[in-house]
C-alpha cells in the first residue's frame, strides 16, 4: 500500500522533472535561436525560400477556411440578429469576431497543423539522418542555416496569413449577409466601420497573430530539434507539435484577450 503510494509520488516527481527539464531546454533553445537571428537576417534568401514553403503553401487552406468561417458567421449571426431586428449589425458581428478572435486563433491552429507539423517532421528527419551533425562537422551552424530561417519565416508569415483570413472572412460574411440574405449594403459596411477600431481591434489582432506565430514556430522547430532520432520519435514529435501548439495558442489567446480587451 505504502509502496504503491511512493511509486505514485515518484511517477509525479519524474513527470514534473521531465516537464520542467523540457521547458528549460526549450527556453535555452529559444535563446540560442534569438542570438542567431541577426545572422539569419543577413541570409534573407533562405528566409524567402522558407516563407514560400511555410507561408505561401498554407495560403490555400487559410483562404478557403476564412471564406467558410465568414460565411457561417454571416448565416448564424443573421439568424440570431434578425430576431431583434438588428440584422444591420451583421457587419459588426462578422468583422469584430474575425478580427479579434477567429482570424488570429483559427489561422494559427491551421498553421500549426499545416506548417508546424511539416517543420517538425523536416527538422526531425534531418536530425535522425544526422544531417544536422554533418552540418556541424562542416562548421555550418544548423541554427543559422536550418532552424533560424524557418523560425523567421513562421514569424513573418503568421500575421500575413491571419490578416488574409480575416479579410476573406469579412468578404464571405458580406457575400452571405448582403448577397444571399438581403442585409442592407451600406448599413453592413458603415456599422462595421463605426464599430471596429484600428488600434483597439485590428492592431491587437495583429499583435495576437504575431505572438501565435512565434509560439507555433518555436514549438515546431524545438520539437523537431529535440526529437528522439528514430521514426517513432519523429511521429511523436509531430503529434506533440500539433497538440502543444494548439494548447499554447488557446491559452495565450485567453491571456492576451484578458490583457487587451478587459
Amino acid at each position: 500500500m505504502i509502496g504503491g503510494f511512493v511509486e505514485f509520488l515518484r511517477f509525479l516527481g519524474r513527470f514534473g522533472l521531465g516537464f520542467f527539464e523540457r521547458l528549460g531546454r526549450a527556453h535555452l533553445f529559444l535563446l540560442s535561436l534569438l542570438v542567431c537571428l541577426p545572422a539569419v537576417v543577413r541570409r534573407w534568401r533562405l528566409v524567402v525560400l522558407q516563407i514560400y514553403s511555410v507561408g505561401f503553401l498554407s495560403l490555400i487552406i487559410i483562404v478557403v477556411s476564412g471564406l467558410f468561417v465568414g460565411m457561417v458567421l454571416g448565416l448564424q449571426g443573421y439568424n440570431t440578429l434578425v430576431d431583434f431586428g438588428a440584422e444591420e449589425s451583421l457587419g459588426v458581428l462578422v468583422a469584430l469576431s474575425l478580427v479579434r478572435e477567429l482570424g488570429p486563433v483559427v489561422s494559427a491552429l491551421l498553421f500549426a497543423g499545416r506548417a508546424g507539423s511539416a517543420l517538425t517532421a523536416e527538422i526531425g528527419l534531418m536530425k535522425a539522418t544526422e544531417q544536422l551533425s554533418a552540418m556541424e562537422m562542416m562548421a555550418v551552424d544548423p541554427f543559422k542555416r536550418v532552424i533560424g530561417p524557418r523560425f523567421m519565416a513562421g514569424f513573418i508569415s503568421m500575421p500575413l496569413l491571419a490578416a488574409m483570413f480575416s479579410a476573406v472572412g469579412v468578404m464571405g460574411g458580406y457575400f452571405v449577409g448582403v448577397g444571399l440574405l438581403g442585409v442592407d449594403d451600406g448599413a453592413f459596411w458603415s456599422q462595421m466601420q463605426s464599430a471596429v477600431e484600428l488600434r483597439e481591434d485590428i492592431l491587437n489582432g495583429v499583435i495576437k497573430s504575431i505572438v501565435f506565430g512565434i509560439a507555433v514556430t518555436w514549438i515546431a522547430v524545438f520539437e523537431g530539434y529535440d526529437t528522439v532520432p528514430t521514426s517513432e520519435g519523429i511521429s511523436r514529435a509531430t503529434t506533440r507539435t500539433v497538440v502543444n501548439s494548439s494548447l499554447a495558442i488557446l491559452g495565450l489567446d485567453f491571456i492576451l484577450t484578458a490583457l487587451m480587451f478587459n
Binding site: 525560400l49 508569415s157 500575413l160 490578416a163 479579410a167 462595421m192 471596429v196
Partner: protein, 158 residues
C-alpha cells in the same frame, strides 16, 4: 523543385497579398478613413450622471458625428462627472450656448453623447467648456418615478 527566382516572385506576391489584406482591414473594416482620434480639440462638460457613457462613444451634433468621448473622470471638488470630448477640427465654431445631453443609441445600444443645437450664432471664441448639460436618463429612475406617481394617483381616487 521550383527555381529560386520563381519562388522569390511567389513570396513577393504572398507578402503583397498579406499587406493588401491588412490595408483592406484597416481602411474598409475599421474607421481609419473617418474621424481620427488625435486631430481635434477638447471640450469639457459636467454631468450629474453619465449613465453608461463610455470613452470613444460618438459625440453628435444634429445627428452628425463630430467627435468622440476622450476621457471621463470625477471632478474632485464638485464630485460631478466630467466628460472630455475630442471634437474634430472641421467643427471649430461651435456656439457658446450649445447644450450637451447623454442619450441612448437604440433600445439596447450603448449610450452616446449628443449635442442640442444652439440658438445663437457661432462665436469666434473656442468653446472649452459646456455649461448647459442634461444628464443621462436612467431607465430604472423613470420606472420608479412612474410607479410612484401611479401609486400617488391611485391614492387620490380613494
Amino acid at each position: 523543385m521550383l527555381q529560386t527566382k520563381t519562388i522569390e516572385i511567389i513570396v513577393g506576391i504572398f507578402v503583397l497579398l498579406g499587406l493588401a489584406a491588412l490595408l483592406m482591414l484597416s481602411m474598409k473594416v475599421s474607421n481609419l478613413s473617418t474621424l481620427g482620434d488625435t486631430d481635434g480639440y477638447r471640450i469639457e462638460a459636467e454631468f450629474l450622471n453619465i449613465g453608461g457613457l463610455k470613452t470613444r462613444s460618438p459625440v453628435k451634433m444634429a445627428g452628425v458625428v463630430i467627435g468622440r468621448v476622450a476621457d471621463i473622470y470625477i471632478d474632485s471638488d464638485t464630485y460631478n462627472a466630467v466628460v472630455v470630448m475630442n471634437i474634430s477640427n472641421d467643427y471649430k465654431n461651435i456656439p457658446q450656448d450649445t447644450s450637451a445631453s447623454i442619450l441612448t443609441a437604440g433600445l439596447l445600444g450603448s449610450n452616446i453623447s449628443a449635442w442640442g443645437r444652439a440658438v445663437r450664432k457661432p462665436s469666434l471664441m473656442k468653446v472649452i467648456e459646456i455649461m448647459i448639460t442634461s444628464d443621462a436618463v436612467v431607465l430604472e429612475q423613470i420606472i420608479g418615478q412612474f410607479m410612484y406617481n401611479q401609486a400617488a394617483s391611485d391614492d387620490e381616487e380613494w
